[in-house]
């Protein structure tokens, strides 16, 4: 399986408040409405221009700060296919995969990827392909891949129990 998309590139220590502002966490609940506020305080052009399948590429500690799950789901609702980062905050990482958003830790790819370029993630071979070359990342366990492909943890468990 392959994922291909255009890159939005950001820096280090991007926190959940700029990914999805805290003031909306209890008042903004609908899927479309959550999507509209994604990266609001980081990059105002994002929501206007994002296309389904786009990929976010970021530096160290992406998603640090609060545990709010919307920081991951607001990206999913905009059709973002994956986030590749040098490292993730623990809770964002869990929230991403548990919401069906592929989170890939690959510092060498992050260094090499240029903003706006089209890259490919080859999930079968666990490599990121970009203009500068091919970069391997550590594979996710089969069950985590299952969670991402099912669209999130709750959907995954539902499916698993239904077929058991």
């Amino acid at each position: 399986m392959q994922l291909q998309g255009r890159v939005w590139k950001y820096g280090d220590n991007i926190n959940t408040d700029v990914i999805f502002p805290g003031k909306y966490t209890y008042t903004v609940t609908g899927r479309d409405e959550i999507a509209r506020h994604a990266l609001e305080d980081l990059d105002a052009t994002f929501v206007k221009n994002v296309r389904a399948g786009d990929i976010i590429v970021a530096g160290r500690n992406w998603g640090c700060g609060s545990s709010r799950e919307q920081a991951a789901s607001c990206l999913v609702y905009n059709g973002v296919g994956a986030v590749i980062a040098e490292s993730f905050s623990r809770i964002f990482y869990r929230n991403a995969l548990n919401n069906g958003l592929l989170a890939i830790t690959c510092p060498s790819a992050v260094q090499a990827i240029e903003p706006g370029e089209i890259i490919t993630i080859d999930l079968a071979r666990n490599v990121v392909q970009c203009a500068a070359g091919e970069f391997a990342y550590p594979p996710l366990s089969p069950s985590v891949m299952g969670i991402v492909q099912a669209g999130g943890l709750v959907a995954y468990v539902k499916h698993k129990l239904a077929v058991a």
């Binding site: 490292s87 623990r90 990482y93 869990r94 996710l140 985590v144 709750v154 995954y156 468990v157």
Partner: protein
């Protein structure tokens, strides 16, 4: 299974390999872990709502679940009471045996006293301070509610093997300086994000010299640095404590023979890091150089020496919580309070972490001394720690507390201040009505 063929490993590597049924795991690897214990508390009813989506008639792992009613006890409102009632019905319906009622105590304390979690085991809980269980050499981590629901349904959950920071406490803490002060100092130095996604290992003479109750403070509070788990190497004292309590819970007579059999079983479970394990960083502290510290409003890493903050007016002093609500904490307060009175204009709340702590404190006359000194005693549980009920400060008031979190609004009132300190400092502050050093009373 031999370890020799693998490179040296951290505790987190060994514990997660065991939980995943693997011989060896690498840092960064994602595994499917089968925790030995899954903890939840008053949030159990909310987790059940998620679990219901799975359409499963029975949870898969009733015997690995542990549920305590502790966060808002006894129920302060009809809504809270309804929540507790739903949890009781769920527990009965699913046959969850490890269930503790209102008044038994705080989840982390109760599971420790009941020896539910053993060294080398993995405990995952829908409570951020599940890191607590590192005091006995277990792998304890907090997880989300839907993750707990998934565990009830399937018994396993994915875990990423974290990097490890190694913190060594050399030498012995001077009198008047506690595990709480050491912990606050570490958080102040490394920052509130200093341990994100990492495991922590503590070692050194300063750690092994601590009482078991003091050891609990350290991993409990490492959640405040964003850590996934924190580990202290279990020694004979830990194993003896667990063996006796396990024997008691299983209604065995606590004879020498039974205890020594259980000790052998428990020490077989214990895991220790290898020398040469791959630490991402190492920090060394000299215990003699530490002093009493205070975490000041409104963040955990705003840590100042007590001497800098002494004299700040407090309207409320609170001794309790899973961090510092144990017998030795109450004893430290009693030492300060004996023959003294709570200051006019200040309230002193004391809430034992469990019914066992309360019983012992009564037997030793501590409760009488505290009540005579003007303290208010509450029902074992979380009390005012997270602002659910009782002990809520008024706007503009300041509280000094033995808890683990001082975020704005944590105790229920945004426009109020929370200072965190050790039990003796909290008691001295209750006596003076201002933040005070017990050594100067």
């Amino acid at each position: 299974m031999t370890n020799q063929i693998y490179p040296p490993q951290t505790f987190a590597q060994k514990a997660l390999a065991r939980a995943a049924g693997l011989d060896y795991v690498e840092v960064g690897q994602v595994v499917d872990a089968r925790p030995d214990v899954v903890l939840s508390h008053d949030n159990t009813a909310a987790i059940r709502q998620i679990w219901l989506e799975f359409g499963q008639p029975r949870v898969l792992i009733p015997d690995r679940m542990a549920i305590t009613l502790d966060h808002a006890v006894p129920a302060p409102t009809t809504k809270h009471a309804q929540n507790h009632a739903e949890i009781r019905a769920f527990v009965a319906e699913q046959g969850v045996r490890n269930f503790w009622e209102v008044g038994r105590g705080i989840c982390h304390q109760v599971l420790s006293e009941e020896a539910i979690v053993l060294p080398g085991q993995t405990v995952l809980g829908s409570d951020s301070h599940t890191t607590h269980f590192g005091w006995l050499g277990a792998f304890g981590a907090g997880i989300g509610r839907s993750e707990v629901a998934a565990l009830w349904a399937t018994g396993e959950l994915w875990m990423k093997v974290p990097d490890t920071l190694h913190i060594v406490l050399e030498g012995l803490l001077p009198p008047g300086v506690t595990a709480k002060d050491f912990t606050l100092r570490v958080i102040g130095d490394l920052g509130a994000d200093g341990g994100i996604y990492t495991a922590l290992e503590f070692s050194g003479a300063g750690i092994t010299a601590l009482s078991l109750e003091s050891r609990m403070v350290i991993p409990n509070m490492m959640a405040e640095m964003g850590a996934k788990n924190a580990y202290l190497p279990p020694d004979d004292q830990v194993i003896d404590y667990l063996a006796r309590r396990k024997a008691k819970r299983e209604n065995q007579t606590v004879s020498d023979e039974i205890v020594s059999n259980l000790k052998a079983q428990i020490s077989n479970l214990a895991l220790y890091p290898d020398s040469g394990a791959p630490y991402a960083a190492e920090y060394h502290y000299r215990a003699e150089q530490l002093e009493p510290y205070i975490a000041c409003p409104h963040s955990m890493d705003n840590v100042q020496p007590l001497s800098q903050v002494a004299g700040t007016r407090v309207q409320q002093a609170f001794l309790g919580t899973c961090t510092n609500g144990r017998l030795e904490d109450i004893a430290a307060a009693v030492d300060v309070m004996r023959g003294r009175q709570v200051a006019k204009g200040t309230r002193f709340l004391v809430i034992p972490a469990s019914s066992q702590v309360l019983t012992e404190a009564m037997r030793l006359g501590y409760i009488q001394t505290l009540v005579d000194a003007g303290a208010v005693i509450g029902v074992p549980g979380c009390g005012p720690c997270m602002g659910n009920h009782m002990g809520v400060p008024a706007p503009k008031e300041a509280t000094i507390s033995t808890a683990n979190r001082n975020f704005k609004g944590r105790m229920g009132t945004a426009d109020s201040e929370i200072y965190l300190a050790s039990p003796a400092v909290v008691a001295a502050s209750a006596v003076k009505g201002v933040i005070a050093d017990p050594r100067e009373l």
